[in-house]
């Protein structure tokens, strides 16, 4: 477990820089720090989807990168690929594709996914090879470290770190509770 005495909180508030699903005035905001090559994040991915479906517009979901580069050799480039897709308006499509194809994150696959999603592949490839989104991913990572992310996935509910289980029932219960408190 990642439970800790002091409640850790997001040091970088959700803002314009973020990739967001759901309305800005949603009752509750869920932020995930994740790694596309992390098996636990892969398992959390459909759980978050199911919760989004259940809560609908009452939930705003934000995804930030926390690639563990030493443990996961493809994680950094996959994160940059999602950002490169985001620059062409397809962040979430790439995010979903990467989690659904965690076992195939080599460079040539990333290019293939960009083609599948109808991106400008030449631009995508150039930006990926040029490391254009490396600083952006690094900024996400650093904001995670200073917010008390100590592994992946780590979730924050309305800015406070969620230290309990992220299985469907407990995560949904925590979100519902936070939604009520706000109102």
């Amino acid at each position: 477990m990642t439970r800790r005495d002091a409640g850790a909180a997001l040091t970088l508030p959700v803002g314009k820089r973020d990739h967001v699903q759901g309305p800005v005035d949603a009752a509750v905001t869920l932020v995930e720090y994740g790694d596309y090559e992390c098996p636990h994040c892969g398992r959390a991915y459909p759980i978050v989807k199911a919760i989004q479906q259940r809560m609908g517009p009452r939930l705003r979901f934000v995804y930030r990168n926390f690639p563990l580069r030493e443990s996961h050799p493809h994680a950094q480039q996959a994160a940059e690929a999602a950002e490169a897709a985001g620059a062409q308006g397809k962040f979430w499509e790439m995010h979903d594709r990467l989690f659904e194809r965690q076992f195939a994150l080599d460079g040539e696959y990333l290019i293939e996914y960009a083609g599948d999603l109808g991106l400008n592949v030449a631009r995508f490839r150039k930006e990926l090879e040029g490391g254009v989104y490396e600083p952006r991913v690094r900024e996400d990572f650093r904001s995670g470290v200073t917010s008390g992310v100590n592994g992946t996935p780590t979730f924050f509910i309305n800015g406070a770190r969620h230290d309990d289980s992220w299985e469907f029932e407990p995560l949904l219960a925590a979100l519902e509770k936070a939604a009520v408190v706000i109102r």
Binding site: M1, T2, R4, L68, R69, S71, F141, R142, G151
Partner: protein, 162 residues
Amino acid sequence: MADAHPLPAGTQAPDFRLQRAPDQTVSLGDYRGQPVILAFYPADWSPVCGDQMALYNEVLSEFEGYGAKLLGISVDGAWCHRAFADERKLHFPLLADFEPKGAVARRYGVYRDSDGCSERALFVIDGDGIIRWSYVSPIDVNPGADGILRALDAVASEGTPA
């Protein structure tokens, strides 16, 4: 964490010399002039430690941004540390507080007599060898790196006390 009495901020950090490899030793004094992070952990190979050391491995460049040196310490021997560091591809030294067992952990107030290992404890020491921050985490909890970064930030912005 209730029973631990880690040396508090403001204390001179006790110097020590420990093996960092089967054929190499290191002392705290070697790092005088730069901040040092001492990360005591209970044992190589236990899953939570692995996560903690893996995280620090990732955050190393942030620590280095403050000119700080990270040293992991447990009661494991130098050969055990070598196997652990190789397997996890750790890019910082692991010191063997092995003989006499736990002697350094005792001097820092973070030895667990009941378990024969150290607490999961963090110390940030400034360039003058003064402890600027200490923290003991519940033994099964990864303390993360946020507290270390805040302490390094404070050391960097306040400078060292006269």
